[in-house]
């Protein structure tokens, strides 16, 4: 089954083209790594796939549903872990996750289960503003996984996490999760290890799209120059 199908997907912000005619197909269960310098359109691509931005041109299907026509059918099947944790600073981790559980119609026991999985039970009842960035990122991982999404959209998911925390979240959002993933990363070496398909973006355009083994390391390095 095809999880993602993009044909000439384009997105503009006013005059500026953030994403220009991106075309790719990703089978279910595989990982797409998206590489590129700042402003290349990586986060825009994730927001388009997450239904938060509508494409201005091209055809896009996520989990078999054409977007933006069937956005409603896709929401609830995707988990977006972006730069922003999408959590209220004045609420506790538990309160934030209970809110999202209710938004997704998820049983509330799942909140406790996830907090235990990311080793956060002890700090779960403290306001988020009192937690370190790394701990907030762990809560954001829980928020992303609450509704057991089929597709994970991950923008620098290990940002702010120390090695121990990376190990904790690895089975949840890493390759071992078995989910279809789109992984935006500034660490090409690591991304290439995790990916089945690699998309290089430069100024919104596709610089390369290939399996990691087929990629020219020189070409990857040039993307950041």
């Amino acid at each position: 089954m095809t999880a993602l199908s993009l044909r000439g997907v384009t997105r503009r912000y006013g005059e500026r083209t953030a994403l220009a005619a991106v075309t790719l197909t990703l089978p279910a269960g595989q990982t797409l790594a998206v590489l590129g310098p700042n402003g290349a359109g990586k986060s825009t691509l994730l927001r388009v796939l997450a239904t938060l931005l509508a494409p201005h041109a091209g055809k896009l299907e996520v989990l078999g549903h054409p977007l933006p026509q069937e956005s409603w059918a896709v929401r609830g099947k995707i988990g977006l872990l972006g730069h922003e944790p999408m959590l209220y600073r004045e609420l506790t981790a538990r309160e934030n996750l209970r809110l999202h559980a209710k938004l997704h119609g998820v049983r509330l026991e799942r909140v406790g289960e996830l907090l235990a999985l990311v080793a956060l039970e002890r700090r779960a009842d403290e306001p988020l503003r009192t937690l370190s960035r790394g701990l907030v990122q762990r809560v954001a991982v829980c928020r992303t996984l609450l509704h057991e999404p089929e597709l994970l959209l991950l923008d620098e998911p290990r940002a702010n996490l120390d090695p121990a925390a990376c190990e904790i979240v690895e089975p949840l959002i890493g390759r071992a999760s078995g989910k279809t993933r789109v992984l935006v990363s500034h660490d090409p070496a690591r991304a290439l290890l995790e990916a089945d398909l690699v998309l290089g973006l430069a100024r919104g355009r596709t610089a390369f799209l290939d399996a990691p083994a087929q990629l020219d390391p020189q070409g990857v390095a040039e993307l950041y120059r």
């Binding site: 999408m86 004045e90 809110l99 997704h104």
Partner: protein, 229 residues
């Protein structure tokens, strides 16, 4: 996982909103202080010890409307700044549930402000006794608050997506609130007139209820478009 029920989503959103206010206590003290200060300013500005009739009604409602503007501007601030909008949009929850939750949040704020502002107004400016006017006034307040809350929730959602939200909120909501002000001030004036206490013009209340209902429907129809890209 099941499709979330709208009532459960509204309850969850409202609970979160009220928790945020109780933790930060940012909006309510500002609204209380603004209302009481406005009454003191009217007291000195009009050079009157006490007011009755149309003047009293106008002073009370203009003060309540302007106090409401303070919170309308902040209604979606935490959602916009902390990613609550995106979190909500990524969920399969019905978009209208956010509108309902915001209307209920505004109603809570307005009721909390009126708990302080109306007695303060009676103490500082009102000539006839509040006790006689209170039963009728509660009905007018309820209908007036509903109108302010519906318009505020809609305008707040529109303004928060723009760069100039601090300006756009009042600029859009005040003209839309003029019909509400006309109705509530007209309906309250007889209550504050010692000679005709209790005689509320029913025509104004029906007009206000209709305006509330029409705006409620418009808000419900437009809200999805305001949230979508």
């Amino acid at each position: 996982m099941s499709t979330p029920r709208t009532s459960s989503v509204v309850r969850a959103l409202l609970e979160a909103q009220l928790r945020l206010e109780l933790r930060t206590f940012e909006s309510l003290p500002a609204m209380w202080l603004f209302s009481v200060t406005a009454f003191v300013l009217f007291h000195f500005g009009l050079n009157e010890d006490s007011l009755s009739g149309n003047l009293a009604s106008g002073v009370l409602w203009v003060t309540l409307l302007l106090a409401a503007i303070l919170v309308i501007n902040r209604l979606y601030l935490a959602d916009a700044e902390q990613g609550g909008f995106d979190g909500f949009l990524l969920s399969p929850a019905d978009r209208g549930s956010l509108l309902i939750a915001k209307v209920l949040t505004l109603l809570f704020y307005l009721a909390a402000v009126e708990l302080v502002a109306v007695p303060a107004f009676a103490l500082l400016l009102l000539e006839p006794s509040l006790g006689q006017a209170l039963p009728g006034l509660l009905g007018v307040l309820a209908l007036g608050d509903l109108g302010i809350a519906v318009i505020g929730a809609l305008v707040g959602a529109l303004a928060i997506r723009t760069q100039s939200r601090d300006l756009l909120g009042p600029m859009l909501s005040l003209p839309l609130l003029v019909p509400v002000l006309l109705c509530v001030a007209g309906a309250t004036a007889p209550l504050f007139d010692p000679a005709h206490a209790g005689a509320i013009p029913l025509r104004l209340l029906v007009t206000l209820a209709l305006y509330d209902a029409v705006f409620g429907l418009i808000a419900f129809a437009l809200f999805d478009f305001l949230l979508e890209d």
